[in-house]
């Protein structure tokens, strides 16, 4: 029995549009005032087509998705235009018809897989329910649930069905949710940032899976993401959103290769990629700020931030101009979009790091073992690292690889195991920050990923930075005030923002405040723990430029942690790759990023979707990162390693961290010459 028999007529009709958004406007009522969140958005999705919506946070992507399934919050409504899904006008549906739409025609997958399932009901029950709603008996539904999980490539569906959501990893949960979404064979599948909360390796798996399922189910897909590379990989056509308007639309490849709207051009230039590095020059940025919510633009909404804008743009709203047939752009000067001048000067002065001297920081045999539930969890094992003056060491690895633990050990927030040796300029560092001298504390500061957590929300910017100046630089009174003004300017904030509290600042300004505070005591080492992961790409570019500039000016050393390899490569002089708390590879950035690499590094690099590049042979890591409480025998990576040796040496013996070429260390049994041969296709 298939479910398609019960589908409403129209959803399967050939040639008809699966989705037709015509001049769609959505508004929210906030405190009595109506705010337009989406304005005049028109696009179509044909059967089997995959359409991507891309844009920065707050541009209305999710609002459109919610409008399609009529899931808008109570204060939101479709204020103009219409959305037609499989021939039905969504706005006119009520009661049963609306329930049928949501049950059978449109399915949604959200960003946080952990929050999409009921935590107190077994997965099996929740998956079966989808089939029971469609009219199957309980027994049939259970059978179909298992079958469905096999289709999303879950190898052990029985175990997964018996589990509770918290017992499964994020990637596994997202598979289950995709299975549920596809169970009713919907005409349209909406994926709203489905991989944003996942590791790159898991993201790669999920994206592969979605592609494969599209082939099988012939479902049309609306794919929403802030990640341009993901959209480029997954979508046939793409729509670029800016401040509630669709500014450009067309085939994904063409739009990304030859954008016709200055916003798309700017966005693409913000992304560090293709081996771009800080000493090659600054990243380009998009000047100015997003218009505030509820501000209605007089003419072109992007004009205030656009270097190509002239009087016409400020007076006359551009229509969607057709470009080369299949494309459209909301810009008067779409044919000149590519000539958008740079917003940030390119030249950067970052002196090369000073490797000749003694290392500034040296870690020897640093391990950290936690005891949880009577089990010993090995978060870090025998890490040896040196950091030199003025260099950036990039730390990469999946979540759970020990990156953050290493940063916390270095800062003294977490005490390492006995026998770990930490040195700063040749003198030993106490394991606990409380026992370090003020000078040592001042030398090392941190920028956290989430400024909402790192900035005390009850304190003003003035207090946040001023207190750091008092405690770390020992400044008071007029001296402190002068330095405060100086620092604020250095991070490109304005003095009038000193009186504001974090809640009044945007994400980028919050992170600037955190950077200003970190620099208050003139640190020599700054730990950056995913400093741009919570930010939009245009803001990320500005923050990366700022970090580069400050490094050039202050000769500060960065320990830079990020899951985004493009970002790490842009800023790093050397890279350390961690897996299960062990260093797998370590060396100059260029060496690590070009063959030969450790098989794990190779897989990480391969997992990252890239703009432009031809999709080469992708290495998909099977399975999940093993528990650090029970690390695998031998080489810890052997359980997932696609290049594991047949001899069995990988299972029995841990390879040493050997120097394979000057300044390049690797922990692998495979001879480096062989790796070089196997990986002859340049990865980036």
């Amino acid at each position: 029995m298939t479910l398609s028999a019960s589908l409403p007529p129209g959803s399967q009709q050939a040639g008809g549009l699966v989705l037709d958004a015509a001049d769609l406007g959505v508004s929210y009522t906030v405190r009595g005032a109506e705010r337009q969140a989406v304005r005049g958005v028109s696009f179509q999705i044909r059967p089997r087509e995959s359409f991507g919506l891309v844009g920065e946070s707050g541009c209305g992507k999710t609002t459109i998705a919610l409008a399609i399934a009529r899931y808008l919050p109570r204060n939101g409504k479709i204020s103009s235009g219409s959305v037609t899904v499989a021939g039905q006008d969504v706005a006119s549906l009520t009661g049963d018809a609306l329930r049928r739409l949501r049950a059978r025609t449109v399915s949604m997958v959200y960003q946080e897989p952990g929050r999409a399932l009921n935590p107190s009901i077994r997965v099996g029950r929740q998956v079966s329910e989808v089939f029971e709603v469609a009219g199957l008996s309980r027994a049939d539904a259970a059978g179909r649930a298992e079958e469905m999980l096999r289709k999303v490539q879950i190898s052990d569906p029985g175990r997964v069905l018996r589990s509770y959501p918290h017992q499964l990893s994020g990637g596994m949960l997202q598979r289950v949710i995709i299975a549920m979404a596809l169970a009713a064979e919907p005409a349209l599948l909406i994926l709203d940032e489905p991989t944003t909360a996942l590791d790159a390796t898991v993201e790669a798996e999920i994206l592969e899976l979605v592609s494969a399922l599209r082939e099988e189910f012939h479902t049309a897909v609306l794919f929403i993401s802030h990640n341009l590379a993901v959209i480029a990989k997954m979508c046939d056509r793409v729509g670029v959103m800016y401040a509630g308007e669709l500014v450009e639309e067309g085939p994904a490849r063409e739009v990304f290769e030859q954008p016709s709207h200055p916003y798309t051009v700017g966005l693409l230039r913000c992304i560090p990629g293709r081996g771009q590095r800080k000493d090659h020059g600054r990243l380009d940025t998009i000047p100015g700020f997003l218009p505030g919510p509820g501000e209605t633009p007089a003419a072109c909404i992007f004009a205030p931030r656009c270097a190509l804008a002239d009087q016409r743009c400020r007076e006359e709203a551009p229509p969607m101009y057709p470009v080369n047939g299949a494309r459209a752009a909301r810009c008067h000067y779409h044919e000149r979009a590519g000539t958008l001048p740079r917003a940030t000067p390119e030249e950067a002065q970052i002196p090369p790091p000073d490797r000749g001297q003694e290392p500034l920081i040296s870690l020897r045999g640093v391990s950290k073992t936690y005891t949880a539930h009577r089990e010993r969890v090995h978060a870090l094992t025998g890490i040896d690292l040196d950091l030199h003056l003025g260099e950036t060491l990039g730390l990469v690895g999946e979540s759970g690889s020990g990156k953050t633990t290493l940063a916390r050990v270095l800062l003294g927030l977490t005490s390492p195991d006995e026998g770990s040796a930490l040195e700063l300029s040749g003198s030993a560092l106490a394991p606990d920050a409380a026992r370090r001298s003020r000078d040592q504390l001042r030398s090392m500061q941190i920028i956290f990923q989430n400024p909402d957590s790192a900035l005390n929300r009850r304190h003003s910017v003035r207090h946040l930075i001023g207190r750091a100046l008092t405690k770390l630089a020992g400044l008071t009174g007029a001296e402190r005030e002068a330095r405060l003004q100086e620092i604020i300017r250095a991070v490109r904030m304005e003095p009038r923002q000193l009186g504001l509290r974090p809640a009044q600042l945007s994400g980028g300004l919050k992170q600037r405040t955190a950077i200003a505070r970190a620099f208050a005591g003139n640190p020599r080492i700054l730990v950056c723990d995913e400093p741009t992961s919570a930010l939009d790409v245009s803001v990320q570019a500005a923050i990366l430029n700022l970090l580069g500039d400050l490094q050039g000016k202050n000769r500060v050393t960065y320990l830079f942690i990020s899951h985004d390899l493009g970002v790490v490569r842009y800023l790093s002089d050397r890279i350390a790759v961690l897996y299960l708390g062990r260093l797998q590879e370590y060396g100059d950035a260029d060496m690590v990023f070009s063959a030969p690499h450790h098989p794990y590094t190779e897989a990480l690099l391969s997992a990252v979707p890239r703009l432009g590049g031809m999709p080469g042979e992708r290495i998909i890591l099977k399975g999940e990162i093993p528990s650090p409480a029970h690390p695998p025998s031998g080489c810890v990576f052997h359980t997932r390693c696609p290049r594991r040796l047949a001899s069995g040496v990988c299972e029995s013996e841990e390879p040493p961290l050997a120097e394979v070429e000057p300044g390049h260390f690797m922990r692998c049994h495979i001879p480096v010459a062989e790796l070089r041969m196997l990986q002859s296709v340049e990865t980036q």
Binding site: G292, R305, M444
Partner: protein, 322 residues
């Protein structure tokens, strides 16, 4: 959910000055026009939030009802002796146990004292003792809770067990023991109720502090070599004031109840001072004789004050914890 929601409460006013407007960038360095985008500022200043919270409170019927009732009792406590129709302490020898009438709205008690006057003036002591006791309890509870939540581990365990040991007994029994030992007086009541409530409040504060403790700004403060007391009182305390305020209002209702109970049992405010709990105690034996007014009106007074405080507490909680 939607992006609009995730970004927090969007407030329209861009009057704070969008950095795009040249006017607002006068003080900025020359290259500010090329400022890399880092987003604008939203008008969600603490003052705006406070104003909005207050507006929501004023709009809630529960809060207004509670506030009016409480205000009435405060007026009675302050001016009761001025506008009470009779002297609440001196009874009339001729009119005792008189039913409610035009002359005595709430009737008179067994000593011929006007019940209406005693109810009105009886607000004074309870409205001094209960809030002061709660305030003391909040201060004690905040300190204990901060220490427990901040230091965690052994400190938390030891204090926690002591608190549990004390709280294993009903609050009134604990208070009773101390009042018997120290002798009934207003300061004794305040201290005893304050300490016992402090232990209760400490548990709520501890939970809130434990959550704050995990946030990165605590790590930042430690890396800045801040003292523990600075971290507790300057960094954490301002962020847990919401739950503390809610706890204060809730405990105030209980404190009134506790004071009235102790008075009823004869260990609170001592006669002949007019007092609701005491009046209920001295009159309920006459209920069987049909003199219901002597018990009902003081009892209603206690109930209305507790209800008023709880209405305020509930609506405050709804606004603060959202």
């Amino acid at each position: 959910m939607s992006e609009e929601e995730r970004r927090g409460t969007p407030v329209a006013s861009a009057a704070a000055g969008s950095p795009l407007e040249p006017v607002s960038t006068v003080s900025a360095p020359a290259d500010e026009g090329r400022l890399p985008s880092a987003g604008g500022t939203l008008d969600t200043s603490a003052r705006a939030i406070r104003r909005e919270n207050l507006r929501q409170l004023v709009r809630s019927k529960a809060f207004i009802t509670g506030a009016i009732l409480l205000l009435w009792w405060i007026v009675c406590a302050v001016l009761g002796t001025v506008f009470s129709p009779y002297n609440p302490v001196h009874g009339s020898l001729t009119a005792f146990n008189a039913a409610p009438s035009g002359a005595h709205w709430f009737g008179t008690d067994s000593l011929g004292r006007d019940v209406f006057s005693r109810v009105i003036t009886g607000a004074r002591d309870i409205l001094i003792i209960a809030p002061l006791a709660t305030l003391l309890g909040t201060v004690i509870g905040t300190c204990i809770g901060l220490v427990q939540g901040y230091f965690r581990g052994v400190t938390d365990n030891v204090i926690g067990r002591v608190v549990e040991a004390v709280l294993a007994l009903p609050v009134v029994i604990v208070a009773f023991l101390f009042v018997v030992a120290l002798g009934p007086s207003a300061p004794t009541l305040i201290i005893v109720i304050g300490v016992v409530f402090g232990l209760l409040i400490a548990r709520t504060v501890r939970t809130a502090v434990l959550q704050e403790r995990e946030l990165d700004y605590i790590a930042v403060a430690r890396l800045r070599d801040e003292s523990n007391s600075h971290i507790m009182f300057v960094e954490i305390l301002p962020n847990v004031l919401g739950p503390i305020l809610v706890e204060f209002t809730v405990r105030l209702g209980y404190a009134i109840f506790t004071v009235a109970t102790l008075s009823f049992l004869g260990f609170g405010i001592q006669p002949p001072t007019p007092d609701w709990g005491g009046d209920v105690a001295s009159s309920y034996q006459y209920l069987a004789a049909g003199y219901w007014w002597e018990t009902l009106f003081p009892a209603l007074a206690i109930a209305s004050l507790v209800v008023a405080i709880n209405l305020i507490a509930d609506s405050t909680e709804a606004v603060v914890i959202q």
